[in-house]
Amino acid sequence: MASDDRKFPRGPTPQDDAPKDVAPLSPMGSPLHERSAAGGVDVSTWERIAGADEFKALLKAKRRFIIPATIFFILYYFALPYLVGYHTAFMQRKVWGEMNLAYLFALSQFFMAWVLAAIYVAVAAGWDRRAAGLIKRFER
């Protein structure tokens, strides 16, 4: 790894394997906080992004999905031990042949998890585009 890097440096950061709590410089330019450390960009760049309307809107959009989704799956999941534990007779009701409500509800948890994950992936793709737009605007 090291020898290739010496021949073709991807940026001015020395590749010496020393731990740095910063990313190495990319061809697009250094991460913002490094530039500020080098004396170029203002230290407050992170604050400027954090204060930008698009960023605030992105955070709000994320919160609007993540908080209800989390509450939903927690309620849906804990309904299972609750119903099975405290309403056992009801959950033993047979639905199809010998298959009872308790097993079907447990099985439905798997599909709930998969469907919620699929919805999350679809929604998060939109966040990715917005974040990419933001980065482009500020990294110039």
Binding site: R10, D17, P19, F55, V84, Q92, A113, L116, A117
Partner: protein, 515 residues
Amino acid sequence: MGNTALWMFLGFVAMTLVITYFSAKKSTGSSAYFAANRRITGWQNGLAVAGDYMSAASFLGIAGMIAFNGYDGFMYSVGFLVAYLTVLIIVAEPLRNAGKYTMADVLAYRLKPRPVRAMASLSTLTVSIFYMIAQMVGAGTLVRQLLPGVSYEMAVIGVGVLMVVYVVFGGMLATTWVQIIKAVLLMSGSFFLSILVMSKFNFSLGNFFQAVSAVTFTGADGVPVTRNFLTPGLLFKNPLDQISLGLALVFGTAGLPHILIRFYTVPDAKTARTSVVWAMILIGLFYIMTTFFGFGAASLLGPDHLKLHGGTNMAAPELARFLGGEVFFAFISAVAFATILAVVAGLTISASTSFAHDFFTNVIHHGKEHRPGEEVRVARITAFVVGAAAIVIAIVLGPAVNVAFLVGLAFAVAASANLPVIVFSLFWKRFNTTGAVCGLAVGLLSSIVLILISPDFMKQPLFPLKNPGIVSIPLGFLGAFLGALFTREPEAEAKYAELSVRANTGLGAEKATAE
């Protein structure tokens, strides 16, 4: 017969050693050694996460629990999958964006690095080592039943030496591939087992559930009883026990260090997300299949037969023997070994990474590496020491130790200590160092103390539940919350903007490195 299993197992070991050899050539720098150069793809990491997660406890333990207790065993299966929603929605992406090698990286971002890393490293080591000892003890007891002629001590030493070899020489890359191969083996083994079970019922779900609803076995008083194994409550008498366990699973998985560090091996947060989805598909399919081989063992073999042939842990291998003869028995046994090996390798690398990166480099040396390559060297030495310690402890404790309590402890600590602090540090601006240290300490202590006074440990328990989650998780959150509330740390608040931008946009995140 034991020989077939042995040869299959040796085949697996040979394959993994070849991979370790090639990985060793590539694992030179820190990023290569700790994070496989961050070049693992989404589906590969998904397989590896699944391989890291589905332990022998899941495969053999849950199969046995369903075979003996029916429905209640299946409850475990559900919790293990739903837990990944917490990982997917709350933790994986911000962690990948803002961290480098360990969970503590994210905490140290805006908090005072030394106290936070020291505490986080302590809790990581606690979780990893307890979990690892549970796996090693499990491996030792299992081998005696699967391979007559190999003793408990030999099995523990064998597993220990192999995991040290993978981690010391091959680093994260070798560990990842061991986990990938194991996941493929485990999924295919379970799939064939399920198909064979269903073939006995002419592939009719109706017939299958018919048989499961009337399982006959000898009761405690020696009289045969017939029970509907689809009925809840054969194992858990106190519903609170199940809720507490569910809490530990759903919140603990997102705090398990060996799972979290897997997200640093992919190029970016988007790939981390894809890999969780892959993992969820595999883990979900696997746990749905526990229906077939767990209930299948109950109805085709019955608890009485299983009790005579190895007990709970042997339900899946015995079912394989019954359905597919000695060769299939050997294959399933070899899969069980592979399962244990992959999980202990993941635990070893998470423990050694945390010690080298968090404790050695950042706490002792204030974040500076005195000589190039020092961090990796320390990690290798730690892996060796951790492996040796785990072998010695597993042998000293012996096969009789209660493994369930060790695993319960690992999940409880992860949920009560790690998760509250991760969540607060990512989402609460006002959070600070005191809060993090309090949260980690309260979560760690309360879960350990509650387990020590639980029914697993005391004849007359002071705490009635087997799993402390329902009390210790709120305590961990409360400790973190109050600690932050009573102190102010303007620096931590000032850096929140940076952490938030990084976590939510991926700006300045660690990039994949060239090989």
